[in-house]
């Protein structure tokens, strides 16, 4: 009996061993890189992060380094971008899933949505620069940055809403329509609430993308780092000042990090990096919590 060929005897193959160790090595490398990156940024940056760092503005006069202005800018851009992109994205998803019939138009919409998510941010930056800048005559401003980013995050919201709408059972639709609801009433009261988890997922992903964005904003929103001037103003003037802020130039945290790094101020850069990683971790955690909360509900 030829024992070496029998299935009863396990023969170790050197190639298997090699490939297996390669697999382990690759996975180890990926994880080590991640932990290394996060760990190192924390290690270098946490020293710069303090209450003053987070709540003041860099000032040569007072000799302080702070990123409060950049935090406010980031919030402005997130808010304006979402205000524009969410209705557009959700609307598009509703059209694709509820109204459209498969055909040229739908494949064109889906292809362009796919394309938008593949276009690099530098191109969005250039587009924002000439379209919103030269054609619509907007200067370097938070508004221009947000308008540019709205186009960029649109696919995220559209696609996540679409996924969510697909999971809503047809019986919900038929039930509502059968009871005499109009289509719009059905969408408003049945579909949108059921699809809310998907919409929220899209929004959170969009926030992550906005926070991490830099190239598209450098050319459109600029690099201002001041807080809106509110001190000593009445309510009306304060609101006006807040509104005007959107028309001023402002750099988000990532843009500021880039500028600091360019000037060789690595302490501040790592400090901002640390804040950014905390934000990214928080967003990830939020997604996990959301997904866990919604899972059982969907199975019901």
């Amino acid at each position: 009996m030829n024992k070496s060929g029998s299935i009863l005897q396990k023969r170790s193959r050197p190639v298997d061993m090699l490939l297996r160790s390669l697999i382990y090595f690759a996975a180890f490398l990926s994880v080590a890189l991640l932990l290394g990156i996060i760990g190192y940024v924390f290690y270098k940056g946490i020293g710069s992060v303090s209450w003053t760092f987070l709540t003041t503005v860099t000032s040569a006069l007072k000799q302080t380094t702070g990123i409060a202005g950049n935090i406010v800018n980031t919030l402005y851009i997130i808010l304006i971008t979402l205000l524009i992109a969410t209705p557009l994205g959700v609307g598009a998803a509703i059209y694709l899933n509820e109204y459209a019939r498969p055909g040229r138009l739908v494949s064109a919409i889906e292809f362009t949505t796919e394309t938008l998510s593949g276009i690099p941010s530098v191109i969005f930056g250039l587009f924002g620069l000439i379209f919103f800048g030269n054609t619509l005559k907007l200067g370097y401003s938070l508004l221009r940055g947000a308008l540019t980013l709205s186009i960029m995050v649109l696919p995220l919201i559209t696609r996540n809403t679409q996924e969510a709408l697909r999971t809503v059972p047809d019986s919900y639709r038929n039930g509502a329509l059968g009871m005499g609801a109009t289509k719009w009433y059905m969408i408003r009261t049945i579909l949108l609430p059921s699809a809310m988890p998907g919409i929220v997922t899209g929004i959170i992903l969009a926030v992550g993308r906005i926070v991490g964005e830099s190239a598209a904003l450098l050319f459109t929103a600029g690099s201002g780092y001041l807080l809106p001037k509110l001190a000593g103003k009445g309510l009306g003037e304060g609101i006006a000042a807040l509104g005007n802020k959107a028309l001023e130039s402002g750099g988000t945290l990532t843009v500021e990090l880039y500028l600091q790094m360019q000037n060789g101020r690595y302490d501040t850069a790592f400090g901002i990096g640390c804040v950014l990683i905390i934000i990214v971790l928080a967003i990830n955690l939020l997604m996990k919590v959301l997904a866990a909360k919604l899972q059982p509900e969907r199975q019901r």
């Binding site: 991640l34 509703i94 005499g180």
Partner: protein, 313 residues
């Protein structure tokens, strides 16, 4: 039954209700058309921005010129080396990143114990969310000094090498390779998990080892997903700007490992701030070239996905 439901009942379908229906449909349609509009506007504006310089300076002079002196008294705008750098740099990053990514995906989907996979997978997802400037920061702070040491060692007998201080093509390629990892891992893993279990069972039943099964049966079956991962990786690498703009050096050179180089993206980012006149228009031409590359990648991707979808049916 509450009275509230009556206005929406079928018994009282009124004109105004029909109007609302039509308006809703129109609004949703317009929202959906926005994506088409945006892509068309971006294409149009990239053309408008990018072609004047091509006409003014000459297509051959720009695309095939090798000298980049935009601010000289007699400016020259050759971007051939910039284009080559983007192609070579992306190719090298893919060559390094894709095998590591696919093997990591195999680990997650096939080899790792469930518990371990549950820790590794979120870690990889996290890697995807880290802003690109942070990769750049680490690149310039950690990788460049290391590369400089390597450079000093490699060129210790050379007299004509221009030292880059570590900001060279190799550094940029390593940063890009790390950055495409999450994309490659996530998509390959999904496609490996989607391979029907009977393929795996059949291979194992024929006496193949687990490793043989992975490489001879499962990965070939997951081919279209893996190709998608690679194409998306190419897209991510060729479009990345901020992470490599400071890491790759600042002069236009042939893409050799220890040369300070400019990519299509970094050329735009680093000079847009001060460029004027024709110089600025040429930067838009670089943007147009990048855009053409990206569109080719997108169309390829679309074809692959369609083909993959047809196969599944």
């Amino acid at each position: 039954m509450e009275m509230k439901t009556i206005p929406d009942s079928v018994m009282r379908s009124s004109k105004s209700k029909e109007t609302v229906e039509i308006i809703a449909q129109i609004i949703f349609t317009v929202c959906a058309l926005f994506a088409i509009l945006a892509v068309m506007a971006i294409t149009a504006y990239m053309m408008i921005g990018g072609t004047p310089a091509l006409l003014k300076v000459g297509i051959k002079e720009i695309l095939f010129g090798t000298v980049w002196k935009p601010t000289a008294a007699e400016p020259q705008y050759g971007i051939l080396y910039v284009i080559l750098t983007s192609i070579v740099g992306t190719a090298l990053a893919i060559l390094i990143g894709v095998p590591i990514g696919i093997l990591s995906a195999v680990f997650l989907a096939e080899v790792a114990p469930k518990r371990l996979a549950m820790i590794v997978k979120p870690a990889v997802e996290l890697l995807a969310g880290i802003p690109s400037v942070i990769y750049g920061l680490l690149g310039i702070y950690l990788l460049n000094p290391l590369m400089y040491k390597l450079e000093l060692f490699v060129f210790r007998n050379s007299t004509e090498h221009q030292y880059t201080g570590g900001a060279n093509l190799l550094s940029a390629v390593l940063v890009l390779a790390i950055m495409i990892l999450p994309t490659v891992i996530n998509i390959s893993e999904t496609s490996i998990r989607a391979v029907p279990v009977h393929i795996k069972s059949a291979s194992l039943a024929l006496g193949a080892t687990h490793i043989q099964t992975i490489f001879k049966a499962i990965l070939p079956a997951a081919r279209s997903g893996v190709v998608t991962a690679v194409v998306l990786g190419i897209g991510r690498a060729i479009g990345e700007a901020m992470a490599i703009s400071l890491v790759s050096g600042s002069s236009v050179n042939l893409p050799l490992p220890f040369n300070s180089v400019r990519f299509l993206t970094t050329a735009i980012v680093s000079e847009m701030g001060y460029a004027q006149g024709t110089h600025r228009q040429v930067l838009f031409t670089i943007g147009l070239v990048l855009f053409v590359f990206i569109m080719i990648i997108n169309i390829t991707l679309n074809k692959i996905l369609k083909k993959g979808g047809a196969e599944h049916e």
